[in-house]
Amino acid sequence: MSFLNTIYWVVWKDLISEWRTRETISSMLFFALIVILVFSFSFAMDQDAARQLIAGIIWVAFTFTGIIGIGKSFTSELQNDCIEFLQMSPVPKGAIYLGKVTANFLFMFAVEILLFPLFVIFFNLEVVDSVGMLLLVFFLATLGLAAVGTLFSALTVQIRAREVMLPVLLLPLAVPVIIAAVEATRGILNGDPYNFYSQWLHLLLIFDIIFTVVSFWLFEFILDS
């Protein structure tokens, strides 16, 4: 009970703080809008080329937008040394980690849900029949990015050059998730049959489990170091 309570309270605290400042969501949205506009104008003359590349463009936007959100996850704990409070709390540190992952996932997923219609409009995508499957890919890939990103956010929060170090450390590890997400999204948008891209969904699921379990176990050492 105490474990679930801790997850609940960490999510509650992060959501309330974000609702009052809208700092993370607004910077994520602003960045993503710029990415969409730049790519949209770049491919304005060649819609065929755009359709070939759209899965990659979507995940470039989602990944870098996510990194902005994840980066802020622990910097907010530096104010008034709140990170020390988390460190000293006599609760399982894994519960704090899962609370942070949940909050990060919700921010990232919310931004993706808001942005995807813009991709549909700007790149003339036909997604009526595949929305459910696309949402599943977004869900699995975002969970993987949030799981590993939250760990690296905690790892880099005390470093002076954390804004640089977070993507440098996170991206190489997140590459399998990003590749799997791009391939699955491409398959769905091309209208391929499920068994053509199902292995990428399985890969996403496996990475989600590995990243969450390993990060859950490592988080206590990172928070205490």
Binding site: S2, N5, T6, W9, W12, K13, I16, S17, R20, T21, Q79, N80, D81, C82, E84, F85, L86, Q87, M88, S89, P90, V91, D224
Partner: protein, 224 residues
């Protein structure tokens, strides 16, 4: 049994030794004041007791638990009021208390929260966000957290900073209540006069070594 037993404790950052071979014991139901000049290592010593830092050598046992190997057990009995106050700026005073106590496994009624806020003189500001609080009000809220948490070990880093006379009285009341419950208080302070009114034991940390003060010496040190 001592509440805190520190034996041969040392702390160094690289080749720079802050203190070494520090040994002392603190008994339950007492208030231990740690004096010393800036940079002597008072806060570092307090942070080691709070399990936030690891000593370079030696041992510290808190209520029978090893401060390094049994951190989680130690954390469940202590509360540390540090310079940083550990408060979330975007949450209100009441929400901060709710969150802090929830993460200590305590669930409290709104009336209890209100009573603690009233006791610390900030009852009227329960719904105000912390970023609108002054330094003194933040300190009072941290005291409210301690009133509700009722820890066995209360660690206070410069508790009188930023507080007016009313805040000092609330701090001293909290210390007295903790001692009455059989709890232990350890504080670092430069304010010898205020500490003299409440501390029952004391020591001076200087040049890397600790000098324990007898009750008479404690008073003499304060007066000097």
């Amino acid at each position: 049994m001592s509440a805190i037993q520190v034996t041969g404790l040392s702390k160094a950052y690289g080749f720079y030794r802050i203190f070494e071979e520090v040994t002392f014991a603190i008994h339950p139901g007492t208030c231990f004041a740690l004096f010393g000049p800036n940079g002597a290592g008072k806060t570092t010593l307090l942070r080691i007791l709070a399990t936030l830092q690891t000593p370079s050598g030696g041992q510290c046992t808190i209520y029978g638990q090893d401060g390094v190997a049994e951190k989680e057990a130690v954390r469940s009995i202590l509360l540390f009021i540090a310079h940083g106050t550990h408060l979330y700026e975007e949450l209100s005073a009441t929400e901060n208390l709710q969150f802090a106590l929830a993460l200590r496994g305590q669930s409290l009624e709104p009336a209890q929260l209100k009573r603690a806020l009233d006791q610390t003189g900030i009852g009227a500001y329960g719904n105000l966000k912390i970023r609108q609080f002054s330094a003194g009000m933040k300190k009072r809220l941290a005291l409210a957290k301690a009133i509700l948490a009722q820890p066995k070990l209360l660690l206070l880093d410069e508790p009188y900073n930023a507080l007016d006379d009313g805040g000092v009285a609330i701090t001293n009341q909290l210390i007295q209540d903790t001692m009455k419950r059989g709890g232990t208080v350890v504080m670092t302070t430069h304010d010898r006069n205020k500490a003299a009114k409440i501390a029952t034991e004391g020591a001076i940390l200087q040049n890397g070594h600790i000098q324990l003060l007898s009750p008479e010496q404690l008073q003499t040190h304060v007066l000097s």
